[in-house]
């Protein structure tokens, strides 16, 4: 008695992982940072994450349908959700709802699907969305909240919802009463007006290294990043090059002139640097392939960020730095092909 069998190519073992698992692991790694963010700055961020996710999924399904792609595997890969969450973490927690809508339109439709969809985008979609709204709506994008510890009026969930959807603030004094310049902004305008860094840092919005609250959010993001390193979802080259690069490059400036240049660790713990180092610059699709390439990519992000922070028009430059390095990635790849066996 002989028997017939179905055939299919090797390897004959269940796959180790899926795209969805990878994306979910990254989302999971963001949870501690998001919780810390909520703890320090109120529930606005959670509403922004929900909003951005909904818009991202709407645009994703729309584009998949337009492109005639199957909906299920691509919606279930969580890549659009990840884009949305990373974007939401970059904007002020009480930014109006249409900011997310416009940003996700550019992130999902333009930066992702018009380049060919998952895996084909040249630029990091979340950063494209963020930069579009940052440049187009500077006022809405600079309405940052102080940490709750310093806030006169901490907005609860319902008040936050009201503000995000109506654009009005339900407390006396309106926007001015609840917003405050970010530590990086304070520092930049302070130094530009001739004040000294130690003096500027006396403001209560500064913590031990970066901004009050911000530095702890960064710590929790870093913890999530370490989880990703442990799970080997990301490799160590990019985070090391970004953070190490920022420290190494800002050190000589600080040593030469500590009055007008912040302490290197302040650079690390300010703005979106830690988030970018572990979660944004590590995006494999728009980053470099080889280990050497990743080191160069990360170092490039560090350099451009510092240049923008020091001499540029924006207090934080991480998003621009990532996008500029995205452009350079194929070229870096071209020149950092690893040596082959026996070559």
């Amino acid at each position: 008695m002989t028997r017939n069998f179905q055939t299919s190519g090797a390897p004959h073992m269940p796959p180790q992982t899926t795209v969805a698992t990878v994306m979910l692991q990254v989302l999971l790694a963001l949870v501690p940072g998001v919780l810390a963010y909520t703890w320090f700055f109120g529930p606005g961020i959670l509403i922004q994450i929900m909003l951005a996710t909904v818009f991202a999924l709407i645009f994703e399904s729309l584009m998949l349908r337009l492109r005639g792609r199957p909906l299920k595997p691509f919606i279930n890969d969580y890549s659009a959700v990840l884009t949305a969450v990373l974007f939401a973490l970059c904007i002020p927690p009480l930014a109006p709802w249409w900011i997310s809508c416009i940003a996700m339109l550019f992130a999902i439709v333009f930066a992702k699907h018009l380049y060919g969809g998952l895996g084909q985008n040249v630029f990091n979609p979340a950063m494209v969305g963020y930069v579009v709204v940052l440049i187009s709506f500077p006022q809405a994008m600079t309405a940052w909240l102080p940490p709750l510890a310093l806030a006169e009026h901490g907005l609860g969930l319902l008040d936050s919802l009201f503000t995000i959807f109506s654009g009005r603030v339900p407390v006396e004094g309106g926007w001015d009463a609840i917003t405050l310049a970010t530590p990086l902004d304070t520092l930049k305008t302070g130094v530009e007006s001739g004040r000294m860094v130690p003096e500027i840092r006396n403001s209560p919005i500064f913590g031990d290294y970066g901004g009050l609250g911000w530095e702890w959010v960064a710590n929790w993001f870093a913890l999530g990043g370490l989880f990703l390193l442990y799970k080997r979802v990301i490799s160590w080259q990019v985070p090391l090059a970004v953070i190490g690069g920022v420290i190494l490059l800002s050190l000589p400036f600080w040593l030469a002139d500590p009055d007008s240049n912040p302490f290197p660790l302040q650079h690390v713990f300010s703005g979106a640097l830690v988030l970018a180092a572990f979660f944004i610059a590590t995006d494999p699709v728009s980053g470099c392939v080889s280990n050497k390439g990743r080191l160069i990519f990360g170092a490039g992000v560090a350099i451009i960020t510092l240049v923008i922070r020091r001499w540029g028009g924006y207090p934080d430059g991480v998003a621009f730095a990532v996008l500029l390095m995205n452009m350079a990635a194929p070229l870096i790849d071209r020149y950092t092909r690893p040596r082959m066996y026996g070559e």
């Binding site: 002989t2 190519g9 004959h12």
Partner: protein, 528 residues
């Protein structure tokens, strides 16, 4: 690294172990098939001996339907490859196409032999004293006995040995590190026939003219090291060392094993003999011992029948040509949930459509897998360039770049990024989160590169022919012109000469007249 350093390291193979890039730590699942000792299965009713057992052309059959053959009688022949022999005495029932396990496809020419039950051997011609025999005679014996690499590639052993002899080999590596999960036939052979392996290695060493033998085994093969070391306790065995290597897939790959033993890489496009080494499987060494000492051709091999789809997994010493179903029956048949039948291991093995497929020299394992073992057919997602494939690639390639380049037909880039160095181990395939069948694409890519090479070869040859013809025509034309010119000159010269003769005749006739003047006129007439 200088050549001298490299040579020194190569000669110290096995003294220290090294690492190769990437690879995977896999559950090895070998124990399930190592419980019973290895036995020969009862004689099957029909043996199906494929004439095509390796890459290249199939052998020419020596026999026709109705012929009687003896056990060990040669039944197939092709010049560069290994000879094929009858595994039993019996009658040739047919020479026809039959499903075989070969990369090329499902069917291949086979000699079908019905055993007569006598098991009568052909007259065996061993090499009488291999220790004093001419190495060329040993190599010839391997060829006549159809010895081929039993690790899976079935490269004819005599060809490898002859090449090794020409290229001054110093180290023979016996590969006993079968790194694929489930397969245990080499381990069982090393446990049960260590003496034969050591004997075979000494014969191979003599045939190659090598100085040392390194037998590489895996660190988890409990009793094997002891058995081999014990077998290698003889006066002339001092040059044999047994080395344990850490089990990381695909360490059993020739190039990876050499890197582990020496820290050196076989040059791209080169062979181990470039480093002064030759690699042979342990089972090949045992087959060499049988061939040289007893004169027995290669008609049986150790084979593992295993997997969760088999009731009682075990190893057999099976005749070439035994159908898989015969072996599976002796193992108690399949389990109810069997879903796929594979020849080889789960990483590189290829699936067969029917268990009527016969055992060939390359068959090291019959693996029956259940639905749980294999994946549901996975949706292929786009590459997200996560780089896992590059991290595990033992050839340090960039599989995701190659995948993209092959799909887009960028063949120059494919070559530049080293597709030819791919060993098709499947590590990249296994770790890919997008479930892209990378190895399939790489095989396709290699095929395209070969095609392109032969096409450019063909057009190159055609162009050469055309250019040669043009050159020849041009040359002939010039030669013709040259000849014409020469002839004209000669005619002129002739005319001149005749003029001269005439002139001298005239001079002789007109004695007393002014000769210089006559010459002058002659010169004038010449000029016009």
């Amino acid at each position: 690294m200088t050549q001298a350093n490299r040579d020194e390291l190569a000669r110290e193979a096995g003294k220290h172990t090294h690492h190769f890039h990437g690879g995977l730590r896999l559950r090895h699942n070998k124990k399930i098939s190592c419980q019973d000792s290895v036995e020969r299965p009862p004689l099957p009713d029909l043996l199906i001996v494929p004439l095509l057992q390796h890459a290249g052309d199939s052998a020419e059959p020596y026999v026709n339907a109705g012929d009687h053959v003896l056990k060990g009688q040669q039944i197939g022949h092709c010049q560069p490859c290994a000879a094929i022999h009858s595994p039993v005495s019996g009658y040739v029932e047919a020479v026809e196409n039959h499903p075989i396990s070969h990369h090329s496809g499902q069917q291949g020419p086979c000699v079908l032999i019905r055993p007569d039950g006598d098991e009568r051997w052909v007259e065996l011609k061993p090499v009488l004293d291999w220790k004093t025999a001419d190495p060329e005679q040993l190599i010839g014996q391997m060829q006549n006995c159809g010895i081929a690499g039993l690790g899976g590639a079935v490269f004819p052993t005599h060809a490898k040995a002859r090449d090794g002899r020409d290229r001054k080999i110093h180290t023979l590596i016996l590969n006993g590190s079968e790194c694929e999960p489930y397969i245990s036939c080499d381990e069982m052979l090393m446990r049960e026939q260590p003496d034969k392996i050591v004997l075979g290695s000494r014969i191979l060493r003599r045939a190659l003219g090598a100085e040392r033998v390194v037998i590489a085994i895996e660190d988890q093969m409990g009793a094997v090291r002891e058995a081999l070391t014990h077998a290698a306790e003889c006066a002339e065995c001092k040059s044999i060392s047994v080395v344990k290597v850490t089990k990381i897939y695909p360490e059993g790959g020739e190039r990876q094993l050499i890197q582990v033993l020496t820290g050196l890489e076989v040059p791209a496009g080169g062979r181990p003999s470039d480093l002064g080494m030759v690699c042979q499987n342990v089972a090949t060494a045992a087959a060499v011992a049988d061939a040289v000492v007893e004169g027995k051709p290669l008609i049986e091999r150790y084979i593992t029948v295993t997997g969760n789809g088999i009731s009682h997994p075990r190893n057999f010493q099976a005749l070439i040509g035994t159908s898989f179903s015969h072996l599976v029956d002796i193992c108690g048949g399949y389990t109810d949930d069997v879903a796929r039948l594979v020849v080889g291991g789960p990483m590189m093995g290829y699936p067969v459509a029917s268990d009527a497929t016969p055992v060939v020299k390359a068959s090291n394992c019959i693996l029956a897998l259940t639905q749980q073992d294999i994946a549901e057919p996975q949706v292929e997602m786009p590459c997200i360039r996560c780089g896992e494939c590059a991290r595990v690639c033992p050839a340090t390639l960039l599989p995701q770049q190659l995948n993209l380049q092959i799909r887009n037909g960028l063949w120059e880039q494919v070559e530049e990024y080293g597709l030819s160095a791919c060993i098709e181990c499947g590590c990249c395939d296994f770790v890919c989160p997008s479930h892209i069948p990378l190895v399939e694409w790489f095989r396709y890519g290699k095929g395209q590169l070969r095609k392109r090479a032969s096409e450019t070869g063909a057009t190159g040859r055609a162009r050469q022919r055309f250019e040669n013809r043009e050159a020849r025509l041009l040359r002939e034309k010039q030669e013709r012109a040259e000849k014409m010119a020469q002839r004209k000159r000669m005619l002129k010269d002739k005319a001149k000469q005749q003029d001269r003769i005439r002139a001298s005749i005239e001079r002789a006739g007109n004695k007393g007249r002014d000769i210089p003047e006559a010459e002058k006129t002659n010169g004038k007439s010449d000029d016009t």
